[in-house]
Symmetry: C2
Subunit: 188 residues, 2 copies
DNA sequence: TGCGCCATGTAACATGTTACATGATTAT
DNA sequence: ATAATCATGTAACATGTTACATGGCGCA
């Protein structure tokens, strides 16, 4: 249960509406934790119920009203407690590797196509990380130290994506040098 | 919806019971796709309903009866179709990186503790991959080509875990050379 | 005597996705 | 004109987790 904690982190940074939270998720930690708006609104309600946040309603003319969420003392305590938790390895759901695992049914050409497609997506993501690194996502870190931590986090994404890309390119080579299948189960 | 397809891959390999499937998941692709037994039984029922699999009941004396699932023609078609799908990047839910993202609330010592803990888990996983590589997990690949593909898949895990470990060790160093926080929000 | 393996399942809950629903303002 | 932005929400569904439930066999 961690969407709650990611939200607490943002609200501790500054009070925000559900809408603002969605945008901040998308422009900062989207690669490590994402959420769509339904989930965010639902979770904020639960957090209100549990008194981790309080609501301030802001009237706006022309625009719809805003509910700005503030972190409470209970919320800060919960955040602080969570921050010190022993970390878990991220769970993985890797469809592509399952495809490769059973890909003896496909021709070399089909497998290479899948791998090239995958490599393309990794390159896109690497670029997205570069943009993030330059623009920062969040307005400004509260301290230099916080800025360093944010950089570290983005670097993790860069390093791992780059490693995955290296694997993919090597894999494309390997598949190229495998004996192809004879039985014509291939595409087209 | 991909648990269905991972199961189809295994059933195409050989007919299996829900119990067997669980064990095979755990001993082969557990790092890329996992499932507990409730989910497997539930999914097998849906697959039966959709005629992707058929059931053979095996009487056993002393032991409880077994339901062995066989892949149907429709199931094979679905598997083959899925295998050629454009791959997606794996979605990530990375709690630890969210912790680091908001870790300016913690002391350097607390952050290092978290990172060291994480590094330990990565080392364990690397060892688990080494074991997998030697033992193979599944009995025997049907073809040499299949064996090569399985090795490739495990290598991906090794490469990415190793990259993550390198990042973690570098991160520990960096945190060590950061100015520590003054405000005593730290542990103990 | 108690644990682990074999083997199946259900119920409740938590989390995540997709689609439906509304409506004004501002920029192209 | 029409698309994007602002802003909130609900309903239905899909997926994943945890706990409850049963019961014999073989081993230490």
């Amino acid at each position: 249960m961690s969407l709650k904690h990611a939200i607490l982190g943002f609200l501790d940074f500054k009070p925000l509406s559900g809408y603002d939270l969605k945008k901040l998720f998308d422009s900062s930690v989207r690669f490590y934790w994402s959420a769509n708006h339904s989930q965010i609104y639902r979770t904020l309600n639960e957090m209100k119920r549990d008194e981790l946040v309080s609501i301030e309603v802001i009237q706006q003319d022309g625009l719809p009203n805003k509910k700005v969420y503030h972190i409470t003392e209970k919320g800060t305590d919960e955040l602080l407690k969570w921050l010190r938790h022993s970390p878990e390895l991220p769970p993985i759901r890797h469809k592509m590797l399952i495809q490769i695992f059973w890909a003896d049914h496909l021709s070399n050409e089909d497998i290479v196509e899948i791998l090239k497609d995958y490599a393309g997506r990794l390159e896109e993501r690497l670029e997205a990380f570069e943009v993030l690194k330059k623009e920062g996502g969040l307005e400004h870190p509260r301290t230099d130290r916080e800025g360093l931590l944010w950089e570290m986090v983005i670097d993790n994404g860069v390093e791992i994506t780059a490693a995955d890309l290296r694997w993919t390119l090597k894999a494309i080579e390997k598949v190229g040098s495998m004996e192809n299948i004879s039985t014509s189960t291939s595409s087209r």
